[in-house]
Amino acid sequence: MKTYTYTEKKDTRSGFGAGLAELGRTNPNVVALCADLIGSLKMDEFIKENPERFFQIGIAEANMMGIAAGLTIGGKIPFTGTFANFSTGRVYDQIRQSIAYSDKNVKICASHAGLTLGEDGATHQILEDIGLMKMLPGMTVINPCDYNQTKAATIAIAEHHGPVYLRFGRPSVPIFTPADQKFEIGKAINFTEGTDVTIVATGHLVWEALEASKTLNEKGISAEVINIHTIKPLDAKAILDSVAKTGCIVTAEEHNVIGGLGESVARVLATHNPTPQEFVGTNDTFGESGTPAQLMDKYGLNAEAIVKACETVIKRK
């Protein structure tokens, strides 16, 4: 079995910051907007190098989404930056009408998604954003898994015409994907080959899935770990090919099981190849204050929970 290790941990938001800085140097049409969270979004480098292409909007996210839509009308490629909560729920109608329905080339970049935002608590820990964004026609939804993948995704979405929701997070997590990767929107990545169970994971849960696969291997269970970084459009073929071998699947995400990646996968399976599935995610609940590790443990979003879900789903075959 192929195993993954890491030598360094970093936050995915810093991957976004590094990708944005690189875009600042390579693509003169890229502009950035922020609603008073420059430091949190790691946008400092882009701003320092391209002050004329940065727009500080102040604490006014609705205005930010509208201004971003307007900037595309002069051929610019706007990247908006704020927390995931304020990037989605707070401005849903602005995104819906001025960006998605108007087919504007805006990149909505959202940090501090999910429980791992930590101590600030449930007001800031959105667990519904993937659902909100994937329901919008024409919206691409991406949730990368580590620093390198987030950086590569940030660079890749500038080349894609159309609205994109890019979701990343606050905590330091292992870097286990290559620095020189080419990010292909909508293309799943197979991390391990397996025959007993498929684990489809996104975002911070990908590393947990790899850890789970090691434990499962020790128990004699062969798990195939697939990284779905693009929740929409979903790589249905990768999922169907894998379950054709394994016959069961576990989805894992730092998001409500209602409206998340798991439901997108379930729709593909129900339509093409009904397959037993277990869902690792939050169960129709808000979060709370705590350290990221405590929260992921309490809400069952870790390797241990994935192992249990795999054992359960295998029995259902």
Partner: protein
């Protein structure tokens, strides 16, 4: 350069288009459309510096954003007469498979429309982005907008109004259709807004008033003054005092025709008050 008579004739024809469009589908918003007919005719035919044809980016030409999208009938008629699409297409307003949706959209590829509007309060933010993109592109042309007065009750406007002066977006002229009416009644009964002029001034805008907002010459004069104020470090607001339903006596001075179409008899009466000028579509 059109003369006032030509602009007036076009306005009368636009009024006929509006009435016939909403009558045909028994839906749509004639009141505010009629009230803004002179303004949009003057804007597209005299005030704005436009290129032939349409491209989304609108580089090196003035661009316009309609924030109060429900007055789509007047917008569509003016766009068609300005050459963006065939006037006959007004026949398809609000019908299935039409590019002329109930509220304006880019989604069906209708030339002349650069943003969807209808959910209120979003147009000024979009216009600010377009204006700032023009500055980045060293494009010295202007951005124009139109908003309802009731629409100013939406909070996003005030985020945008605050931002515009703070960031010195001085290549923008925002016009407020001050007709004093909204769906549930007069703005003073629904939610009194006090002095809109004082509010814009307090937020750091230059404000001009056009008290005869249904008079072509008054509009041209006011907008020329507004244009002269651009480029001086402040955004410019024009308060355009109009009469909802203007040009049709029984639709004037009431909110009753905000979103209601005339019946056959009412249409005949209304068209009688606005005799054909350029020919009906």
């Amino acid at each position: 350069m059109a003369n006032t008579k030509e602009l007036q004739d076009l306005t009368t024809q636009v009024r006929r288009d509006i009435l016939r469009m909403v009558h045909k589908v028994n839906s749509g918003h004639p009141g505010g459309s009629l009230g803004c007919a002179e303004f949009l005719v003057a804007l597209y035919n005299e005030i704005m510096d436009r290129k032939d044809g349409f491209d989304m980016d609108g580089l090196n030409e003035d661009v316009f954003f309609l924030s109060n999208g429900h007055i789509s009938p007047v917008f569509y008629s003016v766009l068609a007469h300005a050459g963006y699409f065939p006037v006959e297409e007004l026949n398809t307003f609000r019908l299935i498979d039409s590019r002329l949706q109930g509220h304006p959209t880019t989604h069906e590829g209708l030339p002349g429309v650069r943003i969807a509007s209808g959910s209120l309060g979003q147009g000024l933010s979009v216009a600010l982005g377009a204006a700032q993109a023009k500055k980045l592109n060293n494009d010295t042309s202007l951005v124009y907008t139109l908003h309802g007065d009731g629409e100013l009750q939406e909070g996003q406007n005030w985020e945008a109004i605050m931002y515009a002066s703070a960031k010195k977006v001085d290549n923008l002229i925002a016009t407020i259709d001050l007709n004093g009416q909204q769906i549930d009644g007069s703005t003073d009964t629904v939610l009194p807004m006090g002095s809109i002029k004082a509010k814009f001034e307090a937020f750091g805008w230059d404000v001009l008033e056009v008290n005869e907002g249904n008079d072509i010459d008054a509009i041209l004069k006011g907008m020329a003054e507004a244009k002269a104020l651009t480029g001086k470090g402040k955004p410019v607001c024009v308060l355009l005092k109009t009469v909802m339903g203007h040009g049709v006596d029984f639709m004037m001075y009431t909110h009753a025709w905000h979103g209601k179409a005339p019946n056959d008899e009412q249409l005949a009466n209304a068209l009688g008050q606005n005799p054909e000028t350029l020919g009906d579509y």
